[in-house]
Amino acid sequence: MALIDQIREEVIKVPLEGRNKPEILRELVQVLVDAGDLTDGDSAYRALLEREGRGSTGLEKGIAVPHAKTAAVDKLTVAIGIAPGGIDFDAQDGNPSDLFFLLLAAPDQSGPHIEALSEIARLTRSDAFCRALRNSQSASEVIELIQE
């Protein structure tokens, strides 16, 4: 299952408005609720916070990949958000995070979850891709970039 299969305009938010980790997580969860991909937003939010408690998913170079297994979804669910200027997400390099890939997976679907996370890891290894993503002004531009 490719990441692109899960991405559509409704699950992308540009720009994100949250100014800290809890607000960003809430905002992305709400994106999924509004898109009809999630009904129990509170459970999903709690699962994400719990995962963050084990170590921040804020990586390097502005990238964050918050993810969790939760019974609130029955299939792999993805949201993407861009926060121009970045916010403090406890990133491993101490820099602000501005590119967010949020993934939720059902507890019995570790395979697709791992596949999608690997795909994000590969995509974000490209500085050119990240630079282009930062310059995206709309959800359709983000989709276009991932499809390239």
């Binding site: 299952m1 490719a2 692109i4 299969d5 995962r51 084990r54 170590g55 998913t57 990586l59 390097e60 990949v65 993810h67 491993q92 019995d108 570790s110 395979g111 697709p112 979850h113 791992i114 596949e115 996370l117 690997s118 795909e119 994000i120 890891a121 590969r122 995509l123 290894r125 991932i146 499809q147 390239e148």
Partner: protein
Amino acid sequence: MAGPIERVLVLVDGTEESITAAQYAILLAGASGAELFGAYVINTRALNELLKSRIFVEAEEQEYEQDLHSDAERYLKHVGDLAESKGVPIKTLTASGSVHQEVVKMVREHGIDLLVIGELAHAKSRRDEFYNESERAMRSVGCSVLIVKDQERVWDLFEYGFKE
């Protein structure tokens, strides 16, 4: 029975497409008398990459690896049950590592002459085309490869048998 197909390997990865491929492989082995193998590869290479890129913490990587072991057991048992329902013997194989490399190894070690895989998703991006593990296995193995399509027809064949 000596014939063009003597040993069939079907790759199971938990997707619906791979289960359909397993059903087709069971029917094929039943009709041809070929020896049937069902394989699941635990993608520890992806787990290592996620740990290295720090998307996973160590405890999380171990937890997911355990999940994948359980998946392998569950899906291979399911395929075993399907084969048994048709009276077709099946040997199941589990490996850990890079999926396509492990499949190549299994094909070589077991003298497989036909690899059966599920339908590949339509490549919507060049990256997807490049990284799909089933597709990489298909390109890498030395034997012939059968891609099973038309899930509905395969289900009908499996449930109701061949029409005269």
